[in-house]
Symmetry: C2
Amino acid sequence: MQLLQVELADRSYPICIGDDLISNAGLLKKTIQGRQVCIVTNSVVAPLYLEALKKTLSDYQIDQVILPDGEKYKTLDVWSKIFDTLLSARHNRSTTVIALGGGVVGDMAGFAAASYQRGVDFIQIPTTLLSMVDSSVGGKTGVNHPMGKNMIGAFYQPKLVMADISLLKTLPARELSAGLAEIIKYGLISDSDFFVWLENNIDQLMQGNVEALTYAVKRSCENKAFVVGKDERESGLRAILNLGHTFGHAIETAQGYGNWLHGEAVAAGMVMAADLSWRRGAISETDLQRIIQLLIRAKLPVKSPANMTDEEFLSLMGVDKKVMDGRLRLVLLQAMGKAEVTSDINLEQLRQTFAACRAA
Amino acid sequence: MQLLQVELADRSYPICIGDDLISNAGLLKKTIQGRQVCIVTNSVVAPLYLEALKKTLSDYQIDQVILPDGEKYKTLDVWSKIFDTLLSARHNRSTTVIALGGGVVGDMAGFAAASYQRGVDFIQIPTTLLSMVDSSVGGKTGVNHPMGKNMIGAFYQPKLVMADISLLKTLPARELSAGLAEIIKYGLISDSDFFVWLENNIDQLMQGNVEALTYAVKRSCENKAFVVGKDERESGLRAILNLGHTFGHAIETAQGYGNWLHGEAVAAGMVMAADLSWRRGAISETDLQRIIQLLIRAKLPVKSPANMTDEEFLSLMGVDKKVMDGRLRLVLLQAMGKAEVTSDINLEQLRQTFAACRAA
């Protein structure tokens, strides 16, 4: 088992990464303060892992909330059901809310933990590669509003994140790839050595090798923790974590959420950011090709949809076609392993990137 | 204008107390960071003070949410309407939510500010004496759940509290008295000099004297801030703020919420706590009578309802009639101006208190 401490003063917490942690009662018991736990999971994960977790926690009063699966259920209404269970089962302020699932489950359970009696303990057991390397670090919790994603929520840190690599055995291949997109992102924005390691180990990762996945998850969390530790409430530096996301969000919105996985859209978006960075002279053409090749080996898309025009991109990115007055801020590469946020964007270069990255 | 700084490290904020502050544009502008404000108020306060506040803030994009009046609307559903307004009017992360109202408005607006985009600035303009001396300090925000009051919420500190004493001119006399109950509480739990001051100035306070009210609000907030500063997240000491509340909640529950105002129930509850403290030898009979007389001069009830039996009290206070195994914790006086939390309660003495304090 690998251990990583996320340092955030009195909100610091450990991330444990390893094989078969879900049956490790000692690890959980060391963190749980009271006698009650409430497991929040969803209808896909529950049949796979809920019983195993309940067996590990058999010494506690266990209550459970099984949410419907999917981003469209990440609403205030569905969220409020967590409180119905907590109150019906008389959970007190020393209870622990445990999220067993991917990003949606973690976001909703975390926001419920933040809000129940103004804050109770929270443990995350991510079940997707994406949530292991993304929502494990940063403390972002919340729900969507019909008018915007993640508009209602809290910054709330867990007491423990338990990244059990063995849970990834049941993860669909496409979701494994989507998680790898975020992992590759860390190599690009802040860790060129890790990028090289990924080039050398991408096949083991794709095959589900536990040792390789443990290392990749740990190093990703370290990179994210380093960035978040400098900017917990997202006032500046943390924006570099959004490499590929401005382009990616435009793709997700244009194609309808759910048709492209988030990680897939980010992959294509990272290629676009890298392409523009190359046009600006920040990285070499060789490096651009290395990025594209690594994403291809991770079975990720490296082109934007054929039907998305320049104007559609610009509109979805919030840019007025006629003026380019610095309102568009993009995360671009300054070098391999180094990112910057810039509003100094050349529209002509941006159009060249759109053209070069569009699927035939 | 009087100024009090609530010291909570990087969450410190000022409370300004004085006359006609609502028209003081400079005070608000110094605190508001962005160009947008969202005023949350209710249907009783809006006709009285909303236009005046909007006039003061005419330089900003102002949007407003007018909640229905009353504790029964302090629900997740009603709360969610604040987000509808914030999002429809495209408020960004630099917006400021302003609560203009009493405790319910402050709790709901504060929890919305805590949760909108994971936290935006929050200003409180309390319009009742109770909210000036109670919810101004402590950072408690939230909504009720059908199964429990204040079960969903956050600890979230405002950037500014503006206690405009002139707003109390329209406050019903019964609500002024209810606010005085909490003010008298601070004298009892932590400030015997203030208790003497209240004995000497209760008539001016009842008559709405601005200078006296300004002083009483300031000194109350100082006392609460001192306690909260030592225990921001309510792990111990802060419990002394609940003097009279265990008895008071039992009365509120038995009589139906809203029939007794919270401050009224707390007043009767404080007499019960003082009576039991006297039976334990902690305060003299003279002091017990001083407490009762001061509450009477504030037109507050000093007796529990005639129809509430010992058994009803014990049951609502969570005590099993047969055993008194230390599960009942009460805030009692150790002396005038000094409170303690104790579970060392003598059931016989408690029954004597019930009998002595019951209305004929």
